[in-house]
Each structure stands twice: as C-alpha cells, then as structure tokens.
Assembly symmetry: C2
DNA sequence: TCCTTTATAGCACAAACGTGCTATCATCTC
DNA sequence: GAGATGATAGCACGTTTGTGCTATAAAGGA
C-alpha cells in the first residue's frame, strides 16, 4: 500500500518546482506529472482535477507555516518576543520560505478568479490577521505598549507590514534582504512598545 | 488616420476588463480582441505579440498612477500632508483604482517568470520606493519627525505598509475598506512625527 | 485618378491543454 | 491460489492558444 498523502505531497512539491521554474501557467497536469516522474494517469489517481492539485499545493504552503508557528516554544518569552518569533516564521527569511512565498503569490494571483483557491487564500489571510491581532492585543494588555493604541488599527497596520515585507522579499530579495526584513519587523514592534 | 496610441490604450483597457472578469489566463489575443470589438488580426496590427499587449497593459497602470501623483499641487502643504496626498494616489482608495491594483497584482504574478513584465514591475516598484524615500526624507529633514529615525529602515517600513495595504484592499475590500486604509496610512505617518 | 500605406479581417497550423477512458501491473484479502 | 482493490500508464477527443500568413477595405499623397 502506498501512502497516498505522502504521494500527494510529493506531487504538490513537484507543482511548486514547476511554478517556481516556469510559472503558474506551465503548471499543467502533464508538466507536473513529468516533474514528479509519474504519468498523467497516475497523477489523476490522486487528484481528480487540476484545480484539486493546485488547491492542495496551496494548502501545503499554509499548513507548513502554521506548523512552524505551532512548533514554537513561547512559554518563556514576553509578548514582544513572542510576536517577533511567530511573525518571523511567517516571513520569507530563508531561501526555502522565500520559495514558498513565491508559490503563494503566484497562486494568489489565480485566486483572484478561482473560487476554490480564493477560499483557501482567505482562510490563510484570516489566520495571519488573527496572528497579528493576538500579537497586538498581547502587547497592549501586557502594559508594555504605547498607551492609547487602537487595537484594530494597529492590527491592520502590522498585518500590512508583514504582507508588504513578504511581497518585497519575494520580488526584490536584493533590496529586502533577510536582515532588512528582520530589522523592519523589529523596528515596527519596537514602535508599539513604550521602551525602545 | 487612426490614433494608434489611443487604439492601443483601448485594447489595453479591454485586456484589463478580461483580466478582471475572467482572470489573466483568459486574457488571450482572441478574447481581448473580442472584448474590444476587434478582430485578432486587427489587434495584432497594434501589438506584435501577446507579451507586448500585456506589457502595455501593465505599463498603463503605472503610467496612470504616476500621472495622478504628478498632477498634485503640493506647493502649499507640509511634508506630512504631501506624503499623505502622494501615497493616497497610489493606494486603491476607490473602485477604479482597486480595479487597477487588481490588474497589477494579476500581472505581477506573471512577472515572477516573464522577464519583460518583470522589468516593468521592477521599474514601478523602484518608483514607489523612491516616493516613500522622498516622503521619509522630507519628514526627517523638516525637523518635525521623531528624532533618530533611520531613513532606509523607515523607507522600507513605509513601503511595506503601502504594498500590504494595497494587497489587502484588493483581496479583502470588506476588511480593508477605504476608510481603514486611509486611517492606517494616517496613523503610520503620524507615528513618524513628533506631534500626534 | 492612381498608387502606396494603413487598418481591419480572418484562415491555418502546430502545439498544449484538461479530462474521460481503458489497460496493465502490483498488492492485499480471504 | 483466486479475486478484489489500488497504482501506474497512456491514448484520444475536443478546445483553446499564439502566431504566421494572406486578403480586403479605407485613407492619403502624387
């Protein structure tokens, strides 16, 4: 018996590679199957349609990010350190995550029009927004924050910083280097706190 | 004689409509020509290839934004008001600009892989970055800014806020409403200034 | 008026695509 | 061992695609 879920993951990763190398429009059933070293028919044994394949590939990106965040041990950190750690797992700070983010952006483009991908995208963005909200709220309630902050506004602002940094890290890795991205995140969180 | 440039603009706008309605992958030569009420052959009289058409459509987005910014009369504003005005012209604050931004994001997805579109994208992002840098620098030099700001860091941070807000306004117009986007921008600029 | 350029139209071709379908081989169950 | 189920392979069909090409209508200059 073959581990069907592992096979699906392999195929989704093959789809990633094709998307990264040749673009989303080349991520056809044929090309992904060839990249994975399988036949078209075999791929279709695991994914009933191309949309199913792309949806799985998209879900894999978010699942990995979610898993990284969940794996963190935040018991011994204050709210600011916790926020920095969690958000660092979402940002594309190394080559692997930059690749994931690039795949994500490519699929997000298609999600503008495909309802299934859109649902996945919205779910992921809601999760990220919640992460930002939790971070802001924890800071505010910890009494270390600048007084008078509007939680909703600061959530949206932090959320924008994260997504903006993600976009920049993908399309201009030369300008938005790992160090720069880290520094901007740290600076922004510092701006929410009373002490520098 | 027909105004060739006006025709090209018409065709590019037809491409926008197809991209918005059916997605980038449906923006074929045939479909765009049909949307514009012309024949394939006629379209190809103005654009030698599909890439040329899409590149023109992409360039039109940035050109319009640039023109809006240039049309501003900033003589009588301080640096903070000037920054807010300029950046407001770049953000998708109404339906029309939201549509432009959506087209932009769709084409940006393809630019991850197409060198010609990538050059256009990079050029536009450089322009936006420069806008942010000018805004930050003007604030800092006007002596109204919080002391000790790192211009490069603040440029990248403002730049991230702008692009993050753009993404959110396109994909979640319900959450990132016009008012919210405006408020976040105002809040961020206020955070760079000494007085609230 | 004639001739050259421009504009529009549309056919033709090869390539790629998604998917329905059947066939073969392996693996597990009884 | 026989039969059922899962896994892999690949063909075939109808569409759509980008682009090369030719043909017709309009316009402008001599």
């Amino acid at each position: 018996m073959v581990d069907a879920d592992a096979r699906r993951t392999e195929l989704a990763e093959a789809a990633w590679r094709v998307i990264l190398r040749d673009g989303l429009e080349r991520a056809s059933v044929r090309n992904v199957a060839r990249e994975a070293g399988l036949s078209m028919g075999s791929l279709r044994h695991y994914f009933g349609s191309q949309t199913e394949l792309l949806a799985f590939a998209m879900g894999l990106v978010t699942e990995r990010a979610r898993r990284r965040v969940r794996a963190l041990d935040l018991a011994s950190c204050g709210p600011r350190q916790a926020a920095e750690s969690m958000l660092s797992e979402v940002l594309p700070l190394d080559a692997e995550r930059r690749a994931e983010a690039e795949v994500w952006l490519a699929l997000t483009g298609k999600a503008l029009v495909d309802p299934i991908l859109r649902a996945l995208r919205d779910e992921a963005y809601d999760g990220l927004r919640e992460l930002c909200e939790r971070s802001v709220r924890a800071l505010v309630e910890s009494d270390g924050a600048v007084p008078g902050l509007d939680v909703d506004l600061e959530t949206e602002r932090l959320y924008a910083v994260i997504d903006g940094l993600t976009v920049h890290a993908v399309i201009r890795p030369d300008l938005a280097s790992t160090e720069t991205v880290k520094a901007v995140l740290a600076r922004h969180l510092a701006g929410l706190c009373r002490r520098a």
